[in-house]
Amino acid sequence: MVQEMRIVLRNVGKINPEVIDDYLREGGYQALTKAKAMEPAAIITELERSGRLRGRGGAGFNTGFKWRSAFHTQADQKYIICNADEGEPGTYKDRIILEHDPHTVIEGMAIAAYAIGATEGFIYCRAEYSEISSLLEHAVKQAEEKGLLAGLKLHVVCGAGAYVCGEETALIESIEGKRGEPRLKPPYPTVSGLWGKPTVVNNVETFAAVPVILDKGAGWFSRLGAEKYPGTKIFCLSGDVKNRTWCEVPTDTSLRAIIEDIGGGMRGSEPLKAVQVGGSSCPFLTPDKLDTSVDFDSMSVAGAALGSGSIFVMDASRSMVDVTYSITRFFQHESCGKCLPCREGTMRLAALAEGIAGGTGSRKDLETIRELGTFMNQASFCPLGQSAAVPVFSALAQFEEDFRQRIMEEEGECK
């Protein structure tokens, strides 16, 4: 039976998120005090070498490396940004963190700002979480009044409904008041980010883990969970699982343990057919892969992705044709339109999927999808277009029967 290990979510149920004194009572902002007594470079080394805290937004990049790059870039102004533009379908972990404990994120940002030498920061919170934006503004004000954010000015910026702004350079463009279209990298934001200044952009969950790592020590953190992706990770269950809930577990927990122990198994009598971990841009896993550890690298080896940590479970009553169609429509809507392969590709992909789902598809369409998806993957400007066809490929590879059956049914009817 898997046991939850609440590190990032350590204060859930213990504090009132609107009351900073509650957070302080639980030891809040002590890690910031500890950090300020250290040399900035020492903080970065602590995270980078011992802690090996890897980004929790989905990319799994070494947080210390990122901070070091911004630390070493000379500039008159540096920025820190918290990416709270959680938008990957099936994901609600950042909402859970912010709803319960906004100060752990603010403290993590303050530590990062001190480490890299930033004096101004932004929390970019999606418009769908407007209540959380208000909670964050309230929390920032409280921290300022207590004098905890000396030397750092934090702002909360509300997004306006654009999935692509979860990509860090699109998010930066959005704060600058532009259309949320991704920038060409390099230069990376740590060299030239917000208004051309060195900028560190980290996910909510990444910042939230920072105070604990500094408090308990990087050595302690590095011994938790999987060796190469240490610590804990928050997962969100959705779909045909009995308990659609969230949990925080060590990263060496198996997918099966989360689905069966935390999720309580399947909701109905049908067996599990597919699991999509990480969000709509990620591949599907079949039941034989359930014993995979949920850490970043094990998921990649299994042909899947950890991504945001969402776990979308589908039972045998589901046709992957319909699920795939829903996903292609999502990407069609969310493509920013900057580059042709994604703009036109997501539209064509959705039209092809609609045809198959609606009964006018043909076997040739399956080949067209493969060809188009390969082109999108190779030629799109940013990860949105590059990965939009990933779930479609995965569904075709693992559940081709669903597609063939739907096409056969229709072709049969035509005769």
Partner: protein, 137 residues
């Protein structure tokens, strides 16, 4: 002040005041920021939650992401469309209700999800649609 520089914040405020981002608001903000109105317009036109046209008095937003999809969002959408006589993305002739898609709102534990005038409704079934619409009359 950096805060005054943030265009999105200004646009949200203008929309809250006028119901959508009016041409007058675009001109005013552009003037204050010292940028061409076209620059402000192109930003507004990008974001799905900033509107360039008046919306209905009531706004019903429906999530159709994969977790909501398998939980029955399509049936809810079909009921909404047929009872209102409009398609998703449209506004009723009397400007009373606008129906639109919303991005995944991060409430996938309670799919399918609707947002009615900013208020979240969880685990919605097609059978509840008539009652929801009745309340907006």
């Amino acid at each position: 002040m950096t805060e005054n520089k943030i265009l999105l914040t200004r646009l949200h405020k203008a929309q809250e005041r006028d119901g959508y981002v009016t041409q007058a608001a675009i001109d005013e903000i552009a003037g204050q920021l010292g940028v061409p109105a076209a620059e402000v317009y192109q930003t507004v036109s990008f974001y799905s939650m900033l509107y360039l046209k008046p919306q209905g008095k009531h706004l019903i937003q429906i999530c159709e992401s994969a977790p909501c999809h398998i939980a029955g969002a399509q049936a809810v959408i079909a009921a909404m469309e047929s009872q209102l006589g409009i398609r998703m993305g449209e506004t009723t002739g009397d400007s009373h209700i606008t129906l639109q898609y919303i991005q995944c709102c991060g409430q996938c534990q309670d799919a399918p999800v609707l947002v009615v005038d900013g208020e979240l409704m969880k685990c919605v079934e097609a059978g509840q649609v008539a009652e929801i619409l009745e309340r907006l009359k």
